[in-house]
Structures are given as C-alpha cells and as structure tokens.
C-alpha cells in the first residue's frame, strides 16, 4: 500500500533538517505507515501526532528495506525525537484522549508573544531556548546556577499525561516530559526559613516581543507554597509528545501544576527562588479579586468572567463538568482547614 504525505504537513521543528537537505514540498513515498502500529497501542493512547507517524514511518521504511536517498533522508530527519525513549506509564497519568499536538501547539496563552491564542506559535521563533541558564537561589543552603542541559542531565526524565485546565474554562490533555519539582527542591536543600517557591520567566523584550507593551508586569512570576511545590504531582517539563518543548509551550523549562489553573504553570523559567514570605505572582497583582495566589481548580468558586462549573475540552463542542482540583483529589490534604472560597 502506498501513501503520499507532503513534507509541509510536518511540524517545522522536525522539518528543519529535512528542509536543509531538500526544498519545499517534495513527496515522500511511504509504505503503509500505520498498519504496523495499530495493534500495539490502544486507540485512546494513540498519539494523534503526525511527527510520531512520520517517525514510525521512517522506521517501517527501513524495516521494509527501503533504500535510496529519500529513505535515508527521512530517517535522518524524523527519527530524531529528543525524548522518545523516556519511560511512559506514570501512575498519575489520565487515560483520557490526548489533545492533538497541533492544538497543543497552536492554542496558547503566552502573553510574552502576544495576547491572541494563535500569537505564541507565530511569534515565538525569536526565543532562543539554548544556551539557557537556570538560577536556584534564596533560602537554600547552596544557591547555584546551571546550564539547562547540565540541569536536565542530572534528572530522571519521565512522561506524565495530565489534564490542563485554563482559567478561561477550556482544557487539554497533554503528555509532558520532565521530572518532579520535588527533585529540584531536594537538591537545593531549602533552609528552615523557606516557606514558598517563586518562579521567574525570562525578561528579554528582544526575544519576547510581547514584553515591549506593558500588558502585564514583566517578568512573569509565579509561586507555590513549599508543601505544594513538593507534592509528587508538581512537575517541571522540558518536553511534550516525546519531543523538546516547542517555544510557544514554554521552552526550555516550564512548570506543570495540574490541579491549578493553567496560568500558575509558568513558562520559560530562568529562576527558582525559595522565599520565607508569599511571593508576588503576576496575575494576582494584575487582578487580586480575580486571580488568587492559590488558584486551585474549583468548580464552586466562579471567576467574575468565567463560570468555573464547566469547561470545554479542546476538540469538543459542548462543555463538560469541571472537577474539584481538576480531578487530582490527592492534593486535598494540602488544604485541610483552609477556606478555599476565601483563599481562591
């Protein structure tokens, strides 16, 4: 069986090398790209991802003994997915259908690149995620700073399939690659004064053109209580869908706190600071009665603009019910005795 795919249909990062080798929209011959995989994976877990399709395609081409320059080139271009071998199947995974990669990477709130959801994909090309320095400081025994790749090298990467619930009442399901935030906390050895963890995004209007207008108080900052940050669900992501984080998703390092509204999951982090007092967080400063410090997903506390009882899963037309803590009930014990209506 023969199928033709246009190179242009492939997301550009995996295309870059390919493009360098041959121009434009050349057609690649493909020998039955899906048949070999279909029995291996459940339909639900099947990535709706052209890149992966292309990667498996390249493999099956080699397996089929396809030779010639075209086969060689596609295998070079498509086998290179940075985190393909990272262990999957975390106990924290949801088994809900994944949001297609195309939607994950084209519908983003990342005001550093513009306020429209389509802007980050278009404008984030100016971000240079390598080289990148991460500083860990504040109330810790040994403040340090790392190069991002050295930082990642010391961590055991894994995949986590989490729900992401935006405060604007839409949600996605995303397979992240990364490591628990707790690993960083342990390594930093916070002292007895450390009660919170603050995060800061890069400040560089040349790389982040949205910072040229004073829409928010740049740089973007976020924060968690130390016990929240130490919870095994709290995650630092360096990739998604088995590959490096696209710029628009917060390259090279972003936070993922699945039981809180999406804006808590700060992107393109340059600094992690342990503090004794509650840190200032961007949206909370911008609208204290709209965006609380905690911002736990809570269907019973409405935002003045969005009713939080329901959400639209990207890919669906109608709304579904929102779950307390976005369905991550295991965090409830962090908040015993706390009035979540007051501390929204």
């Amino acid at each position: 069986m023969l199928k033709y795919l246009k190179c242009r249909d492939v997301p550009h990062s995996s295309l870059r090398m390919h493009k360098a080798l041959m121009e434009g929209t050349m057609l690649i011959k493909i020998i039955d790209p899906t048949a070999a995989r279909e029995h291996e994976v459940t339909p639900q877990a099947l990535y709706l991802d052209r890149r992966r399709l292309m990667a498996s395609t390249a493999r099956s081409m080699i397996a089929a003994g396809a030779t010639g320059i075209s086969g060689l080139m596609s295998s070079m271009a498509f086998a290179a997915k940075a985190y393909e071998k990272v262990p999957k199947g975390s106990p924290f995974d949801t088994n809900e259908a994944l949001t297609p990669l195309k939607d994950v990477t084209s519908y983003n709130n990342f005001y550093e690149f513009g306020t429209d959801k389509g802007d980050p994909k278009i404008n984030s090309g100016s971000l240079k995620p390598r080289p990148w320095k991460i500083t860990v400081d504040g109330e810790v025994e040994k403040p340090t700073s790392f190069d991002i790749d050295d930082f990642i090298k010391t961590k055991k990467l894994e995949e986590r399939i989490y729900r992401l619930r935006c405060v604007e009442a839409w949600s996605m399901v995303i397979p992240w690659i990364g490591f628990p935030l707790a690993d960083v906390i342990k390594a930093a050895r916070p002292n007895s004064k450390a009660k919170f963890v603050a995060f800061t995004t890069l400040l560089d209007p040349a790389q982040m053109p949205g910072q040229k207008s004073k829409i928010l108080d740049w740089p973007y900052t976020e924060g968690l209580r130390l016990d929240e940050a130490s919870h095994p669900l709290a995650f630092l992501a360096v990739g998604l869908y088995g590959d490096t984080l696209p710029n628009q998703s917060g390259a090279p390092l972003r936070l993922v706190v699945p039981w809180k509204y999406g804006f808590k999951s700060i992107k393109s982090i340059v600094k992690i600071t342990f503090t004794s007092t509650q840190p200032k967080t961007t949206w909370n400063v911008m609208g204290p009665d709209e965006y609380g410090f905690y911002s736990n997903v809570n269907p019973n506390v409405d935002h003045p603009r969005w009713s939080q009882g329901k959400e639209r899963r990207i890919g669906e037309l109608f709304k579904r019910k929102t779950m307390m803590f976005n369905g991550y009930d295991q965090v409830a014990s962090l908040y015993t005795g706390l009035d979540l209506k007051k501390n929204f």
């Binding site: 195309k102 939607d103 084209s106 519908y107 005001y111 306020t115 959801k117 389509g118 604007e168 839409w170 207008s213 829409i215 928010l216 911008m286 409405d302 003045p304 603009r305 969005w306 009713s307 639209r312 990207i314 890919g315 037309l317 109608f318 709304k319």
Partner: protein, 205 residues
Amino acid sequence: MKKLSARQQLHLEKSVLLLVLMLPLARIIFDYFQDSLGANPVEAMTHRTGDAALQILLLSLAVSPIQRYFRFRRAILFRRLLGLTAFFYGLLHFSIYLVFDQELSFGDTFADVAKRPYITMGFSSLVIMLPLAITSTDKMIKRLGGPKWRRLHKAVYAAAVLAVIHYWWLVKANITIPAIYGGCLALLFASRMIRQTRNLSRKNY
C-alpha cells in the same frame, strides 16, 4: 444595455451590500468545513460573529456623518440594512452561546446574564436592538410616526455603548481593540454633538 430604473438600481446596490455583509458568515461556514477555525471552533465563531455585529453596528451609526462629510447623501438608504445585519450577527452570536455554552438551558443562561457583568452588557445591548429591528419596517415607521420612531431609534447609541463595554470587560489584559472601538464610538458622538450645536445656532433644529 437597458438603463435600470432608480428603484431597480437601489435594489441591486442593496443586494450587493447584503452579499458583502454576509462575508463574515460565509467565511465562518467555509472555515468550519475546511477545519480551519482553530483548536476552539466555538470560541472562534463567538468572536467572529461578535466582531461582525459590533463593526456593522458602528458602521450603521456612521451613516449620517458619511452623508455629511463625504456628501454621499444616498448613504441613508442603506442604514436599515446595516442595522438589521448587525442585529442578525448579534442574534447569531447569542445563539452560539446559547447552544454551545449553555446547551439551550434558559435557566442557566439567565443566571449567567445576571452574574457575569460582561454578559449582562452584551445581553442588554441585544435586548435594546430587538425593538429597533421589529420597528424597522416601513409600516412600523408610519404607525409610530416620524418623530416618535426617531426618538426610539436613538437607543441604537445605547446598544453600541453597551456592546463596547461588553467587549472591554471581557478582555483579560489587552484592551487595545475595545479601546479602538470605544474611540470610534466617541468620534461618532462628537460628530453628532457638533451637528446639534450647529443646528441649534442656526435655530432650525
């Protein structure tokens, strides 16, 4: 070619205008079937119909200044079509919300209208436009009588103000675009005021 009568020509012009005004809707339908409304098609449809409603509404308010400043006296002949199309897009905008956000639950809808200030504004705007749309026929104009009809139809300014507030209140941080609409509306008001003071000083008000 036979020359068109004035009536026929007006009819033709209005048909062309209607076609142009339906372009936003045509684009939504086209993009829907092309699967190019993006990751959140319902949101895209809501935004595009809302934009069309507000833009056409402002255009309908610009008719008298256009008449005066561009000496395009016939512009008035197209105002009713503009107003009705604005209402049509407003209705479409509301219907999308009613179906996909509220799943046709009128109870939930009214609770939402009462609770969220920007929805209250949008809803009020549409509610104001409703009687204006109903009284837009020649028969209704005659029945109400010119002065009364004109007084009623001044409410269209209120509808526009409420729609701009609706937009202003729904954006999270970047108020640039609602501010532009607000600026247009302010210009329209200014032009109206200038004319009124002139008319007053000429004592032929």
